[in-house]
Symmetry: C2
Subunit: 228 residues, 2 copies
Amino acid sequence: VYSKLHEAAGGVNVTSITSERPSTDHSRAERKERTRRKLLDAALMLVGERGFAALSLRELAREVGITPAAFYRHFANLDQLGLVLVEEAFGALGSMLRDARAEQTPPEHLIDASVDVLVRHVDQQRDHFRFLARELAGGDSTLRTSIRKELQLFRSELAVDLARLPFVREWPTDDLYVLADLIVKTMVSTVQDLLDVPADKPEEKRLVADRARKQLTLVVLGVPHWRP
Amino acid sequence: VYSKLHEAAGGVNVTSITSERPSTDHSRAERKERTRRKLLDAALMLVGERGFAALSLRELAREVGITPAAFYRHFANLDQLGLVLVEEAFGALGSMLRDARAEQTPPEHLIDASVDVLVRHVDQQRDHFRFLARELAGGDSTLRTSIRKELQLFRSELAVDLARLPFVREWPTDDLYVLADLIVKTMVSTVQDLLDVPADKPEEKRLVADRARKQLTLVVLGVPHWRP
DNA sequence: TGTACATCAGTGAACGCGCGTTCACTGATGTAC
DNA sequence: TGTACATCAGTGAACGCGCGTTCACTGATGTAC
């Protein structure tokens, strides 16, 4: 049955490609890399719908169009593939942060700019974010801890950024972290809300973004009156 | 192997009980109810560790000490049992809300009282809350939607309560919901933080509670300055 | 350039395993007289 | 109170299925001469 699938989907194509265009995917290494990518992409898709624990090796191989045994040419087991997914998803998070900082936004537009960056990245890397959001709460303990650690790192960097702002500048470090944590909590919840919005309802997505902006504003309004 | 388990665990007990004390669990209906409870309790425990999707009927039956087939005397399938778990967990949530309202706290102590109630209930009904927290993000879509609906109900009730407080009294309904949503987000995140604290580290739990109190205070401090 | 050998991504068959579900059954509890 | 029959929670065997993993293999790509 695998050979049939292969004929129908990949096999014929491969033959025709190699004979007709002698260019890009000629090399064995390139072909291997392409299969690896397909495995990661398919896993990300399947996992988003049902959680990593419910992913099966055979199902994944079927999706990609290879034999179950061929999977082992790329990963030692499913857990290893899971860890690679986490790394890639963190890459997505990192690029979001870089974006947010690169823009050199004046303090009065920080909230709008941050929410914009958030919405844009969740749109662009939906599968990665959905994976992180799911496994943060529901995943096995290895996945969960590594995601949580990365979030703490995020919180620390945010704290450093916050320390430059008026009022907050004079706060003790502990309170700074409390504020950073509240903002991260709000952001994470907003990501989860965004992921729940069906793709065909952009107006609902706008509502979620609006709400996030208002909530962050409310938090910021409290800042000057802390420890009165 | 089942018969051995049964002899070792339940079977012998049952015999001795029925012969020695002729009281409580004599009746067939009571015995059935006890098994049903055991199924629900064992499921709640197993699910907390690995997620509902990873729960298997045979594993559950093994844990409870009955034959896999006997499961069907109590539930049509695992999904039905899942829905009952959701109902029970919402019961836990409801009792928390009732507690919170029954206390008739003066406004200036509302935050402390609410966080206390939250911490206490997460302690007492840890398994239920863990189940809800897990399946809220990671569960199958039936579980997820029903949990989410219940949270929205919670948010609405909170909005009604908030509408009685100074400053907030004059807010438009939309903004009221934004505030209620922010508070619920913070509470849900705090529950997740509390569930991550190992049972043998009460001092860490205190830190999480402190942080929640401060964060809610920060939000409330912003309230009088909204739409300035 | 052409040939002979090495590499290795992917194949397909096989394995043992735990799963959900069905079925006829058993024997203690419950009920009618 | 004692007996005969009904109920039904739990049994244990059986089924077909998808799973992860292993293995010897194939044949196209890559390399050395």
